[in-house]
């Protein structure tokens, strides 16, 4: 376990290194950061001066070594737009994203598991068909549209919920949370539902299909024969066996959600990292983009490490060891 974690830590460093290398090599293809910094009438000579100041004219190797030597000290450069260390900017926006992802995950878990299990237990029920049809529709409706429709219905027509932003937040131990104020919670509803709507169909289907497999197994039969309440048979015996792929996909998706809540955050003007990233791309804020991608790499290594550890917890036959062979 300990060796395992040490190894993962080491691997995470390599991952981040490779990402920085790739991110750095494509920087020039992202656009020209100068464009976003200067007005239209600024002359070419002026631009060159700025470029020199920013070190944009240096050869790739110089730029990269400079980057790496700063990076080892935890400095991934300053965002052009925010004029602050990119890492700080990301960390600051992360709160909002985590709250959004958390809310969406709760919705996904609360809905997909019961529905998935239900539709596996009653494959012939009319409800199952409805759930499956709904999920197919859900898959094909882009999140952008879902978000806009929700907004039009609940914010404009009914005026029950606010249309954008995070609303009022409360500072708890340095963490700005929207979960503790009424306004904050109201602001969370629509974005969370929209975000959840992307993954919900996938998870319902996944739970259902894994559940179907588990239900045909002998141990479920034996558990039934033991006289257990069926709920227990389904939700403990069968469900736990379905968890491995669900957890895996969940891990990847949570990572993806934290990483690319782009659309939801854009539509709801949610001040999180996804929106930040999109803006950074639009503004060609290369230090921020690089820092962000590296950061996302870290998120993935971490979530996947957690998921791998959970495999061992869920399935004792899957051994987690640090050995390399």
């Amino acid at each position: 376990m300990f060796t395992f974690l040490v190894q993962r830590l080491f691997q995470a460093l390599i991952v981040m290194f490779v990402i920085s290398l790739v991110a750095f090599s494509i920087q020039d293809n992202l656009g020209d950061p100068l464009r976003e910094m200067v007005g239209q009438s600024v002359s070419d000579a002026e631009r060159q001066v700025l470029r020199d100041e920013l070190g944009l004219n240096d050869p790739y190797i110089t730029k990269y070594t400079r980057f790496i030597s700063n990076a080892v000290q935890g400095d991934l450069g300053d965002s052009y737009f925010f004029k602050r260390p990119a890492v700080d900017v990301i960390l600051e926006k992360l709160e909002a994203t985590i709250e959004l992802v958390f809310g969406a995950s709760i919705i996904i878990i609360l809905i997909s598991i019961p529905l998935g299990v239900f539709s596996a237990i009653h494959p012939k029920s009319i409800w199952t068909k409805a759930i499956m049809a709904f999920s197919s529709i859900g898959i094909s409706i882009p999140v952008f549209l879902t978000a806009i429709i929700l907004m039009y219905v609940f914010a404009i027509e009914l005026q029950w919920l606010p249309s954008y932003g995070r609303g009022e937040t409360l500072n708890v131990l340095g963490w700005e949370t929207g979960y503790l104020t009424k306004d904050g919670l109201l602001h969370l509803v629509l974005p969370c539902i929209s975000l959840a709507s992307i993954m919900l169909p996938l998870f319902i289907r996944l739970v259902r299909s894994e559940m179907l497999e588990a239900l045909s197994s002998e141990y479920v039969k034996f558990a039934t024969a033991k006289g257990l309440v069926m709920k227990k048979v389904y939700y403990q015996h069968a469900l736990k066996n379905t968890m491995l792929p669900v957890l895996t996909v969940g891990g990847v998706q949570i990572g993806t959600m934290i990483a690319y809540t782009i659309l939801t955050e854009t539509v709801f003007q949610w001040p999180g990292t996804g929106f930040l990233f999109l803006e950074a791309i639009n503004r060609v804020d290369t230090p921020l983009i690089t820092a962000y991608v590296i950061f996302v790499g870290l998120i993935f290594v971490v979530t996947n490490t957690v998921v791998d550890l959970l495999y061992g917890v869920i399935n004792p036959t899957v051994k987690i060891t640090g050995k390399g062979a």
């Binding site: 656009g31 700025l50 920013l54 954008y164 003007q269 639009n282």
Partner: protein, 493 residues
Amino acid sequence: ADITVAYDSDPVTLDPHEQLSGGVLQMSHMLFDPLVRFTKEFDFEPRLAEKWERIDDNTFQFTLRQGVKFHSGNTMTADDVIWTFNRLKTSPDFKNVFSPYEKLVKVDDYTVQLISYEPYPLVLQTATYLFPMDSKFYSGEVDGADKSVIIKHGNSFASTHVSGTGPFTIESREQGVKVVFDRFDDYWDKKSPGNVDKLTLVPIKENATRVAALLSGDVDLIHPVAPNDQKRVSDTKNIELTTVAGTRIITMQMNQNSNEALKDVRVRQAIVYAINNDAIVKKIMKGFATTAGQQGPEGYAGYDANLVPRYDLEKAKQLMKEAGYEDGLKLTMMAPNNRYVNDAQIAQATASMLSKIGITVDLKTLPKAQYWPEFDKCSADMMMIGWHSDTEDSANFSEFLTMTRDAETGRGAYNCGYYSNAKVDELVNAANAETDLTKRAAMLQEVEQILYNDAAFVPLHWQNLAWGAKSSLNVSPIVNALNFPYFGDLVVK
């Protein structure tokens, strides 16, 4: 009254000299005041300069308003104006605007004289960019750094601290999330009817969301309103749409360097004749734009009412035939897809119109971040560019778009058509030194006429500006074609 305003972006900085962009100027008009400002009709309205007069060809004198207080409590004097002018001369973005001037000299505490190198006609236009800053506040050092320094890509004192003379002070600012402005109690303009006590500016990037925020009542005023949403906004009860004819011209340039055929004036003319500006404005812009046949809009010095769009498919075909391109030709076209209103659709429509005269267009649309590098290289045979004159003057268009490219003077820097006409160059240069405004207007009109005849570029339209606001806000008096709403004067019922 407290209001919330949603824009598509928030100002990148609080330093008025850091970047010459709409966002920064909008901010400047709230936190600072210029010497003079434009009215809706492009006239000049005295602000911190009470009076002005031309002393001679090269000298222009401003009389400053007395008793104007900065947010810090300091009183504004000629020293502040001079300090500001000198700072502007060092700003990469603004130095170009102020390059005609040699210096600003103090006559007395409330009188200054602007001296240009050559006779210069656009003094008042440039004076709209002079927002006097609090020289005492911005002088000195913090943490070992000069407070007055302008830094584009890093933190500076001025980018986070403000002391202006404007109607508002900054209460708080969370970049990308919101900026809160408070009414400045000691604001000099006691005659201003404005009654906004607190103004919260939130950036909402997505068009649909911005409209939704307005319709749901979460914000009081939005800008811009996409053409598609304008009908909905104006149809909604208690919400009003205010539009103003804009001054940003949208054009397509025809690259004579990359495509032999475009050197032929007949081909260029054919292209102009083939494009139906009316249809674009009507269908794509939903009528929220003004069709253009020239660079500058009405109200600008060079505007010539006779230069109207000329859509004539037969004529276009005829011209193609004359030029020997009966069988058509191939063109590449590039356009941004998130820079101008409906830019990609306009490009598509243009491409399809050109196909009617046998021109096959290979169209590529890109996000602006990727588009500008391509534009710098003039990668395609036809490229879209929109232009807004910083000086609200016709000559500015030509300087950047249609004069012969010259790396040294920076003329024609955005001329991806590689159009070059000595006469045009000469006329524009002359106009820039002509202080007699009538003569000057004639020159600029001639320029437009030449460009028109030569089909130097494809003029499409001027984008309108639109604001959506609750009816309780009296928006129309404070908005203008320049897109600097004077929020200080906003009246909320």
